[in-house]
Symmetry: C2
Subunit: 103 residues, 2 copies
DNA sequence: TAACTATACTACTTTTTTGTAAGTTATTGC
DNA sequence: GCAATAACTTACAAAAAAGTAGTATAGTTA
């Protein structure tokens, strides 16, 4: 909690408050996914942003990355416990959007 | 829900997923506030970003703005019902940050 | 041997967000 | 007349986020 995060809410937003992070975490709630599958669940994301975002999430310990030493490459992503602890929030955000956009 | 929001979660993030919006909404949970007071609760925000953000929130119907025709000006902000419906989410995000940053 | 595969990286450009600093307003009180 | 006030605006600059397009990898399969 540094000076840029005077409020816990701000801390949370700095961690997951970007365009793609919540979306990736959300899709991983349903279980572990191969890189390509996960990316296809978010058709709008560019290859670069996908890689960059999962790297960020991994760095922050919200997801973990398992590499299988095969060719062609196989990489699987899954939520860490820290990532899983966001489940309620992610589902709430999704639910709110669903309800709100019907009005 | 347009093509940029294939997922409700994305819709929500596009609405409040910025640096300052959740923070402003959060502080208004405690009740209506004069512009200056609200801004002082977020010392890191610049004058410009504050005005810009409350304008956005007003445009999206999450807060309402009451102007008193006095000099010097007096402006009060409050949450709309739509804004209030975010209460659980905002408190969850704050709570998560509080718990998480202790680890 | 050449194409194919899934994943990722890089250089570069564009777009979006944020910040800085200065000005504007119209009344009050000195 | 002139400074002080609260809220806001504007022009400009800087920084961050996102997009585009091309390259690398190294076994497998045709």
């Amino acid at each position: 909690m540094n000076k840029k995060n005077s409020c816990p809410l701000n801390y949370t937003m700095n961690l997951i408050g970007t365009k793609w992070k919540p979306l990736i975490l959300f899709h991983l709630l349903e279980g572990d996914l191969r890189s390509g599958i996960l990316q296809k669940k978010i058709p709008e994301i560019s290859n670069k942003m996908f890689t960059q975002t999962v790297r960020d999430l991994e760095k922050d310990g919200l997801i973990s990355r398992k590499v299988f030493p095969v060719v062609p490459p196989k990489v699987e992503y899954s939520l860490t416990n820290r990532g899983k602890s966001l489940e309620d929030i992610l589902r709430s955000l999704d639910k709110w959007g669903l309800e709100d956009c019907q009005n």
